[in-house]
Subunit: 111 residues, 2 copies
DNA sequence: GCGATACTTAGCCGTATGGCACAGTATTCG
DNA sequence: CGAATACTGTGCCATACGGCTAAGTATCGC
């Protein structure tokens, strides 16, 4: 019954952490290396890397390694799955509003 | 530096669970009692109640008790905080796009 | 080549999360 | 009033999460 979307689930789990959300925000301005990003957060590199991996595993970023530097790039299009979910919610409750509307204008529909 | 919004954080944490997302979806069609909702999920009532409390604590729903029945109602306006965050992201990367645009059309900006 | 740099791997640790069972309380209904 | 209903409270449990340290690997730059 419940339409469990693994895709949406992963994206929301990834975004439900302030550090990861901030990484997304920073990458919105352009690609950056793991080291440069990590320097902005009050935690060790290994801890930070976990967030990077989470973001990548859930498709929010893409990373590539050149030499010893790993560069992170935002995958903006992935945020669309959140947009889509929000849009569906809106559709659902507008349907409901319409139904209530009809109940008022057409009293015969009332049971 | 990182703009940690507790409000946004709570809403995203609440939505990062499939059960809670499904509750939001169902409530989009109209208010429902805890019992009616719980019947749709493969878990015990106490477990389900935790999700209800989480949703309420993060402002996504409002609940009221009449007699022995607790009714849940969606607070649609709270989803706006997610919308707002997404909008901010879009603003950030559009700014970047504009900047790149200028670099192409006005070569003097290049270092 | 050797030191510095930039991750990466491994493992530990405390807390939070999401589930359970079981017992209790408060209403409602016959 | 007594049984059924609809939560509610308590406590337990396993796993996941987010942090850490310590040690390892792979470039890069002199």
């Amino acid at each position: 019954m419940a339409q469990y979307s693994d895709e949406l689930d992963g994206v929301l789990v990834a975004l439900a952490d302030p550090t990861r959300r901030d990484v997304v925000r920073r990458l919105g301005r352009g690609p950056q290396s793991v080291g440069d990003l990590a320097r902005e957060f009050p935690m060790t590199l290994p801890s930070f890397m976990k967030h990077v991996r989470t973001l990548e595993a859930n498709g929010l970023i893409r990373t590539t390694k050149a030499g010893r530097v790993r560069t992170c790039e935002l995958r903006r299009e992935r945020l669309a799955v959140v947009d889509d979910w929000l849009a569906e919610q809106r559709r659902i409750w507008e349907e409901r509003t319409d139904r209530l509307e009809r109940l008022v204008t057409d009293p015969e529909e009332q049971q």
